[in-house]
């Protein structure tokens, strides 16, 4: 199945949050190609093209990863560590999008090399605003990593 290139990998266990996020991004016409991983294990399978995603090519990574921290199975910090610890996935921008405002999480995420750390605003309009800004910034403003970085021989 030649699915269109995934622009955003949204790692979010809450279907409501996922829906609201996708709604916002689509509403502002920022991205249509969003893949939702419901837990950390699924996210890693997707990124490293294994398990159910073994037919994906690692040469077409998502342009952006939105990562929740509290996840079933493999939690967000572990996912982040796996992404930033692997030469294939390391260049992909990762935004941690979490309800947590805990200093430990913030510190750990930056130590692991997160590209952005956003606390999900409780208020939906703020939430929408944040998602819109994120989409604008990372998909339109920001210069993505050059594709050579994903073509390892």
């Amino acid at each position: 199945m030649a699915a269109p290139e995934v622009e955003i990998l949204l790692v979010e266990d809450s279907p409501e949050d996922a829906e609201l996020t996708i709604h916002t991004l689509r509403h502002h016409r920022l991205s249509n190609h969003i893949h939702v991983a419901e837990d950390g294990a699924q996210a890693l399978d997707f990124l490293f093209c294994r398990g159910a995603y073994s037919d994906r090519s690692p040469e077409h990574p998502p342009r952006l990863i939105m990562l929740d921290l509290k996840l079933p199975k493999v939690d967000g910090l572990e996912v982040l560590q796996a992404i930033k610890g692997n030469v294939w996935t390391q260049p992909i921008p990762v935004i941690v999008l979490t309800s947590s405002k805990e200093e430990f999480d913030l510190m750990k995420c930056y130590q692991l090399g997160v590209n952005s750390y956003i606390q999900k605003p409780v208020d939906f309009s703020q939430f929408q605003n944040v998602i819109r800004q994120l989409g604008m910034y990372w998909l339109l403003v920001n210069q993505p990593p050059p594709s050579e970085l994903f073509h390892h021989s």
Partner: protein, 814 residues
Amino acid sequence: MRLSPEKEIKAGFGLALATLVALGVAQYQSARHFAQKSHWVVHSNQVLRELEATVNLMDDAAAAERGYVMTGGSSYLKTYWKSAREVNDHLNQLHNLTEDNPDQQQWLQQLQPLVSRIFHIFQRSMALRQSNGFSSARELILAGSAEEAMTSIRMLVGDMRGEEFRLLRERNAAAEAGHWKTLHSILLGTFVALVIISAAAFLILSDVRQRVQAEQELQCERDLLHTLMDNVPDFIYFKDPASRFTRINRAQAQALGLKDPAEAIGKTDFDYFTLEHAREAFEDEQTILRTGEPVINKIERASRSGQPPVWVSTTKMIIRDVKGEVIGTFGVSRDMTERRQAEEALRASEEKFRAVTDTANDAIISADQSGTIHYWNAAAERIFGYSESEILGKPLTLLIPERLRDEHEKGMQRYLETGQSRLLGKTVELAGLRKDGSEFPLDLSLASWRTAEGVFFTGLIRDITVRKQAEKALLEAKDDLEKRVAERTAELAEANAQLENELALRKRAEEEIRKLNECLERRVQERTAQLEEANKELEAFTYTVAHDLRAPLRHMSGFARILVEEYAPALDENARHYLDRVSEGARHMGQLVDDLLNLSRVGRKELSLQLTPLDSLVEAALDELEPELAGREIEWRFSPLPSVRCDATLLKQVFVNLLSNAVKYTRTRKRAVIEVGHTTRDQQPVIFVRDNGIGFDMAYSKKLFGIFQRLHSSKDFEGNGVGLAIVQRILQKHGWKAWTEAAIDQGATFFFTVGAPQSPGVDSSDRSSKNGASPRCANGLSNESHGAATADPAESHQPAKNQPTEVHYGCARS
């Protein structure tokens, strides 16, 4: 045929010499001839002069005779006699001069009578003059006889002169001819001599040049020979027929221990070498001299006495001079000692190798890079079952079990291509295949070496079947032993443990006796720790709950918003109103959750204690409250506060919350009065914040510090009831206590101690149990668990108006 240069030169010079001699002779002859001719010319001239003189004298005599005759002067007489005498002299002279010429003699004989007659006539005339005088003499003269004779004389003399002139002409011509001849011969001779000498000089010069060139070539060859002799490492020597050295080169001199090769001249081998070698060499040389047959590459032991033996390869031959005469022998010896030693070492090494490999217990097998077996020792035959003749030239793979062959081929290929091997230089365990097809375990040590023919491998192979069996047996024995050791160890450990137990029991008993009084305290501390733990867990729980509450709130407000924004036209007023209520509810709950989180965060924060002036904290708190103060008339009463060791950030929050409360609940007053001061209670410094606000009923004071507890409607006064809970939590963390005094509509005062804490964190009060006690609490302490925020005074503390309500965090027991 060409003459030798020397002869050519001799011939040239001889020829030149002969030419010069001939030339000399010719010139001499020519000169003499010329002189003779010249002599005759002179002779003729003399004759002519004599003739003339005679005639002149005759005239003089005639003149004198006449003079005398005419004058009779005696001077004429004298002149006459003189002339007459001289005429006679000249006539004699003429006679002598013309002896060679008969014609002239004849004429002279005719002349003389004529002269005599004239003189006779003159003398007669003069005698007549003297005796008879002039006239008689004159007559005689006039007779003319004298004149007649004179004329005859003149004629005669004329003939003679004519003859003599003829002769003179002849002689002049002859002399002239002789002169030219001589000149010609001299010129010719000189030219010939020059030619010959030039030729000779040319010959000599070219000969000299050839000689110089030949000498240079000779010198060059001599230099080459010297260089060769001096530098060639081989020993070179020339000997005379008596085998005495005539010349040796430097290498030979060095070998003989000589500084200068010349020292050896005249010496023989007997002077330097052992008798044995010297004799052998002497006999060889004599044989060569006798037969003319050379000795070629003869290996000799050329030992010098007292020196280690030197092995040389010697070539000797006869030498002859240019005439072919034998003048001695020439020899060249090359030092072969090192090569011979190397050969011997090689032979010894090969023998050693044979000896070792033949007796080795291990199979030793060599193969080339194609895997073809080249060497096979006895042990290999024993181990693999193939005889040497069977296996040599066969591939190694015969010895390798089928399953390992691929790996073997790859390893070999890899080594040949990259030089890397997993096996080389190590001992590895592999399996071998015997001739009978059975497999056996083996140890292989592999070495390789490179030759011009390629790479070779040698493997040392040991059959380790027995060792393997032994190892297995050993392993089993070891396991068994270990098991037994473990059993024994366990027994010992048990015994030890029993002993230790007993000891511990005794110690504990002793300690129990000794520390009976401390025991309670200890248990209290333990409990405190448990309570703290429980508190922490509860806080974590609170945090998690609060955190998890956020998400559904967002969903509610989110979907509500989407409905409002995207489906507004489809909704009526009521629906929109309800949706607003949903959103508002969600927002409110979000605020509650945030406050709860703040509270939880305070509980979990580590204290960072510093001595802090409380005045500065009050000031900072007021700054923060600035927005709330807008439009308010407030009278502030501050008295100086002490400096206290506290967490400044948290304590500022305490002031913020208390002052904020004071500001909030004085809102209904036209003029608010808020006082911050300090006092003491039980010798402890106490800080208070007092206001003249609406106050509250002290009956509910217990609830005041509980979370989400509010004594006023949120319609009148906004807030969640968390502010004071946070204050309480912060003070609790410092180990301080707080209480209030208030009455409805009479204002309220909040107190808190800032004294030295009494065992901070120890909390057995009703409030702490309300907030922190967990069901895990043991030891019979209060074990209430009444939900998150309900105040339930366990103390028999009767709330009363104006009576202080204690919020106590010490370790006092209820």
